[in-house]
């Protein structure tokens, strides 16, 4: 009979074990395979239509900015809600909550980020479109996409930990995606038009920092130098900070977008009832 045996494993070891097994489960999920396939097919089609890597990448950018938040936030949240009972079983094991949270986060984020990188890179390998101009642009797109995955899986954790009811939680996730992915820029533009005679540039900068999708778009377009697609907030951002300064600041803000919801979700996970 086991009296109180303490595990010889540290928190990192425990998180690692959970992350590996969780990743194994997530990597076998059909939606993840379909997602990687969809990115590959979209990339391949765009490459064929555009005729060259850089043009295809600019088009692919719009697919990425819409698809990644959708998959990471909504399917991520659905996956976490489905795993709730097993999470409770793990919580009843001798594991610190924070170690479990880190393991679960990595177990969802790493497979999703890996599939994203694979789905974005594969068409360029298939079509042999990797030249000296395309490679750095593709690397940037992959890096920013992986950051977006980290942001939106952290948000998915935040939703599932704070909203207990699955239907309500998924509703919140859908609204968050619609808001950030589709409506935000329109609302910002409407505000900018309405108050065009006012000095609202600073407010617009804040508005951009408040939306990780806008930040990702700005980083990519500043680097790809496609100002016409940048949108209102992106244009203000470039005017205020220049290309390099703007891209650096936007990257820092995007990293903060990973940290903030992750920390809030981890804190809620530590304190919540299951």
């Amino acid at each position: 009979m086991n009296t109180i045996a303490t595990s010889s494993l540290g928190r990192v070891d425990l998180s690692w074990i959970i992350a590996i097994h969780q990743s194994r489960d997530v990597l076998r999920k059909r939606w993840l395979i379909a997602y990687a396939g969809l990115l590959t097919i979209a990339g391949d089609l765009l490459l064929r239509l555009a005729g060259n890597g850089p043009s295809a990448l600019v088009s692919l950018l719009n697919v990425v900015l819409l698809l990644i938040p959708l998959i990471a936030l909504i399917l991520g949240a659905a996956s976490l809600y489905s795993a709730r009972e097993f999470t409770e079983l793990l919580l009843a094991q001798p594991i610190p909550r924070r170690a479990l949270f880190v393991g679960l986060y990595l177990g969802l984020t790493v497979p999703l980020a890996s599939s994203t990188a694979l789905g974005l890179t594969l068409p360029f390998l298939i079509e042999r479109a990797l030249d000296s101009t395309t490679v750095p642009m593709l690397a940037l797109l992959v890096a920013v996409s992986m950051l977006l995955v980290c942001v939106f899986t952290a948000l998915a954790f935040l939703v599932t930990v704070t909203v207990r009811d699955r239907a309500r939680g998924l509703g919140v996730a859908v609204l968050a995606w619609l808001g950030m992915g589709l409506l935000y820029d329109g609302v910002v533009l409407a505000v900018a038009t309405t108050f065009r005679d006012w000095p609202i540039e600073r407010g617009m900068l804040v508005a951009m920092v408040l939306n990780p999708i806008d930040l990702a778009r700005t980083i990519l377009l500043l680097r790809l130098d496609v100002a016409v697609l940048m949108g209102y907030t992106g244009a203000v951002f470039r005017a205020a900070f220049g290309t390099t300064g703007g891209a650096t600041l936007a990257t820092v803000a995007l990293v903060l977008w990973v940290i903030a919801p992750w920390w809030l979700a981890a804190r809620a996970f530590d304190r919540s009832d299951f």
Partner: protein, 258 residues
């Protein structure tokens, strides 16, 4: 042993537990019984450390809070609805949990007795509900717990597996394990339970041996005795029924009979 002392828990406007005090004694099977929404699940989840009481404490015999990760090494848990990662095989689930407890040599006895090992090389999503329940039972016993917490443990098990499982519970009890279980099957209570803790509206209305419950209620059968307890007017009994360490002492709700 587990000491539940003056535990209160509120979810929003609903006060689910109201000063629950209970001692779960080694070598005895204590069944938590009560109608739906009486607070049974919340009490079990509190004992597991999944729910944080607003007030009160839940400790092991050495005084350690059950919410401490090291204290949970003593617990074996079988939830009402077993759920595992769909795309892992049963063996992978066991391997994961084994890896999380490297200091304990896993006990494979129940795995053999339930004859489930052959099915565990398939993904969990392809397993029947009964096989998942067997896997859940195997996990509860696998790490040689000194406290077993079983939530409706035989629901979904075939009669043969249920018999094997009940004998495993009895053997664990005889070996000195503290067993806490919930079930709606009165026949199962009659076979397994040494003590009954009857929970109504978040208050323990009775806690003590089954024989004393029958004697005090004057009922011939356990279900008649439980029905008598259920008719107790709300608020007619004190918030706590027994003190920690005194599980054999009985406080019977006599209002039910008067």
């Amino acid at each position: 042993m587990i000491c539940v002392h003056d535990v209160h828990k509120r979810f929003g406007a609903v006060q689910v537990l109201r000063g629950v005090t209970l001692a779960l004694v080694p070598g005895r099977v204590t069944a938590i019984v009560g109608p739906n929404a009486a607070g049974k699940s919340t009490l079990i989840r509190s004992v597991l450390g999944l729910v944080r009481p607003d007030r009160g404490s839940i400790t092991l015999a050495d005084g350690r809070d059950v919410r401490l990760p090291a204290a949970r090494a003593a617990l074996g848990y079988m939830p009402q609805q077993p759920s595992f990662p769909d795309n892992l095989t049963g063996h992978e689930v066991l391997a994961m949990l084994d890896a999380l407890r490297p200091d304990v040599v896993p006990d494979g006895t129940l795995l053999e007795r339930l004859q489930v090992a052959g099915q565990l090389d398939k993904p969990v999503r392809t397993l029947s509900g009964g096989t998942r329940q067997k896997l859940s039972a195997v996990i509860a016993f696998r790490y040689r717990p000194s406290v077993l917490i079983l939530d409706e443990p035989t629901a979904g098990l075939d009669p043969l597996a249920a018999a094997v499982f009940k004998s495993a519970i009895v053997a664990a009890r005889d070996a000195g394990v503290t067993v806490l279980l919930t079930t709606h099957v009165v026949a199962e209570l009659a076979v397994l339970a040494d003590d009954i803790a009857f929970l109504l509206d978040g208050v323990i209305r009775f806690a003590g041996p089954v024989a004393v419950l029958l004697q005090e209620t004057g009922a011939a059968t356990l279900d008649a005795a439980l029905a008598a307890l259920m008719q107790t007017p709300a608020g007619s009994v004190p918030a706590s029924a027994i003190e920690p360490g005194a599980a054999q002492r009985v406080r019977i709700v006599r209002e039910a009979r008067s």
